[in-house]
Symmetry: C2
Subunit: 467 residues, 2 copies
């Protein structure tokens, strides 16, 4: 790891931070960030605000510093949440103290027509060798240490639990909404980064940092458009290096005409043609999603499932109708649903219910028991005829119990990707889903979403073989 | 309404029913149906089972009848849940008593290779003039009276509240899963019908019955394939008559090769080519969905929103990124996102935040308040430039409160369809959603789903103008 890379890694995972603009005014940006860090962060926090000495907050006495230079200990990161015009001086002070990284939450720079102030920040950063994330960003959420510069309180934007996914988002609001959504679904979003105006630290450097962190299994990227010449090339080169070891899933927003008009006004990015991005992702081996939700559907599978050898999918269902919907979705994506070899079909015919369909999709029928699924999985998943399994478990039928989860989890030993479709909302359905997901089996509410997740695994397998 | 139509209407909405095969054995089909009807049905129930006289169950004394003919009162419907071979005789008895409709839950007929027994049932039904739903079906769920022949207990398959949607499903398990899902989401699914082997009563007749019921605002149809010659033509003719008054949304499962193989084995239906169904829906003015979830996304909008005059959509968002995603989705569906006329844009520029984007999509920014949405909606929805509105409300940003719901609901007065995108999971997000949906504003978790719902409204508007 180069010195530059080490600095960015510390930026997303620091041990010690100062918060300049820390505030005691409830609801303010400087208050929420201080509360995040004081009450939950596992590292050292140094609040900076000349207005306060010592304050009693959240049941503890908090010492404030007058300035960054007053802090005796070394700092990994300085978080800045003061009015824009004060930022260059704070950065200078941090630089003189030897701090290597800053996160500038403050807005009022290029996005507000103040390009000059942003250039000044860049110049100071360069002079003192301080790397800057932002300005005009929500910064970093790190679920492992609770390093959390997101200035939205938890009752608005929930905090997801630690887990194998990392998100790099060009939009702060989209990132916050994703956090809240992931928290509700207990989706393990270990890291989130938003770079705002991207005055200095780029998405490419964040990619490198997450690639280097062994806790991250999949990197998701929300992008509206690159901003500077040469970025597309750097993204391509970096992604190509990462992808053979760790999948990247990207969603590019802003595709059509009106959308590109909006991208330009939103992030001043060069939207480029959508085809350009599409080609870029393809060359880079990045799996492309067509929405935020799909990006996480794919990421959930990529983080937990092995890479398949091919695209032949076994479909098992207790509802003929759902099995058919799954096949529709798989075939539309170019995956195969091959027939079951006759010898095995004969054997299944003996062991399953008389009216079960033993071709692929296999319909164990609404009268099925947990054991019928086990029989099918044990007979077919170990064979060379199938690369993956899509299993529909409508738990509304009378014969199924939560033991079915155990049989599905046992099937992991065959080393092939599995995705579950489970639809409904009763307690039984929810407990069943939680058990599967806790054991690394991804569950989706509809066949098309499970199919797309399996497609992403297949696509990633292809990329790995190619690169 | 013809006599035939009146009989089918009674079948889905009876006042008095006998349950033949009513059982006191917990968990059995005859037990669950009896429990449904005895504890919740608002009409008269007559349990039939020669094994019992009077039984104490669910805190009440229940009188059993030896046979249907022993029941003195008239019956609208006989529900049959006895072994297949006993069914023809029960039907005969019902016919002799003058009962006009029966629901045969029992399986073991054509679907089990027993076509002869099914033909016998058909012959008896014809001879006595009894219309038969099934056999091998889950029958009817009527949320208004709790007439409920679904033999899955409520802890497996929740029961949705009364509301403007009706579902006709070719698959019983899919119907049960939809029930459970709708219950969890408080989606008003007032009627559900599953016709199993379709020995007699067809989906076309159920369509007519729901068309005639003023409580039904939208009819949804899950179909795998027609079974008999002439059905496609009858479906077309009937749908064309209904659609100008009430929208029909259909999802056809079983599109590709392997899927059609499965359809054949599942419901013995002629899958036909998917293109044939596609053409049929188009000619009939049926709005086509590409998944079960999408069908209900569309239905929710069609049940609550006015029909738009055209396809020009106003997009308002507090997140530039989400606004862009919405535009992507709308444009991909062929809807327009026209620019805001310059004079109004100038006015908005004065009233919104300095960095707001006043073109379409309008970005009120993450610093927006509830009032900014109100300003935009009041300035643009009444004008002739827009036919619908897609409003993104990421409630994670600090300035929004639940009062925003009120402003959105107030905008109904402009008589134009509205769809909301709300993403996340915190308490605030959920309460906000519930208030909107209770007031007839459909809410979707992602821009693509809201866009598809608006597309369905647009499509239905086109159909209405054409037919």
């Amino acid at each position: 790891m180069s010195h530059r890379e080490a600095v960015i890694s510390k930026l997303v995972d620091p041990q010690s931070v100062a918060v300049v603009g820390a505030s005691t005014k409830p609801g303010s940006v400087g208050y929420v960030i201080l509360e995040n860090l004081v009450t939950r962060f596992k590292g050292q926090v140094y609040p900076v605000n000349p207005k306060y000495d010592e304050v009693e907050l959240w049941g503890r006495r908090i010492k404030f510093y007058k300035s960054v230079s007053e802090i005796g200990d070394p700092l990994d990161v300085v978080v800045v949440a003061t009015p824009a015009p004060t930022v260059p001086k704070i950065l200078e002070e941090a630089g003189m103290k030897g701090v290597k990284a800053a996160i500038i939450i403050s807005s009022g720079f290029a996005e507000a027509g103040n390009a000059e102030l942003e250039n000044w920040v860049k110049a100071v950063a360069r002079q003192y060798g301080v790397r800057v994330l932002g300005p005009n960003c929500i910064g970093i959420y790190n679920a492992y240490t609770n390093f959390d510069t997101v200035f939205l309180p938890a009752d608005r934007a929930g905090r997801p639990p630690p887990g194998p996914l990392a998100l790099i988002s060009q939009s702060g609001a989209v990132a916050a909404a994703i956090m809240d959504w992931a928290a509700r679904r207990r989706l393990g979003l270990g890291f989130l980064a938003n770079y705002g105006n991207k005055a200095d630290v780029t998405e490419v450097e964040l990619l490198e940092a997450f690639a280097a962190d062994h806790r991250v299994k999949v990197i998701t990227v929300y992008v509206e458009g690159f901003k500077y010449p040469g970025e597309a090339r750097r993204f391509l080169e970096t992604a190509r290096k990462i992808v053979p070891k760790k999948p990247i899933v990207a969603y590019k927003a802003g595709r059509g005409g009106a959308a590109q008009r909006a991208v330009k006004s939103h992030t001043a990015a060069m939207a480029g043609t959508y085809e350009m991005y599409r080609g870029l992702f393809q060359q880079a081996g990045v799996v492309e999603a067509s929405s935020v939700r799909e990006m996480f559907d794919m990421a959930k599978a990529l983080a937990t499932q092995p890479t398949p050898r091919g695209g032949r999918v076994l479909v098992v269902s207790d509802s003929g109708g759902m099995g058919i919907q799954a096949v529709d979705a798989l075939e539309a994506l170019g995956l195969e649903v091959p027939e079951v070899p006759e010898s095995i079909a004969k054997e299944l015919k003996r062991e399953l219910l008389p009216f079960a369909a033993v071709s692929n999709p296999i319909d164990v029928t609404g009268s099925a028991t947990d054991e019928h699924y086990k029989i099918v999985l044990d007979a077919l998943l170990p064979t060379a005829f199938f690369d993956m399994a899509l299993i529909v478990t409508l738990m509304q039928v009378p014969g199924l119990t939560k033991n079915l989860a155990k049989y599905v989890i046992d099937s992991k030993r065959y080393g092939k990707p599995i995705a579950i479709v489970n639809f409904g909302g009763s307690e039984l359905v929810q407990r069943f889903e939680e058990e599967l997901e806790d054991q690394g089996i991804p569950v989706y509410p509809t066949p098309d979403r499970a199919a797309k997740a399996l497609w992403a695994l297949y696509k990633y397998g292809e990329v790995k073989r190619r690169l």
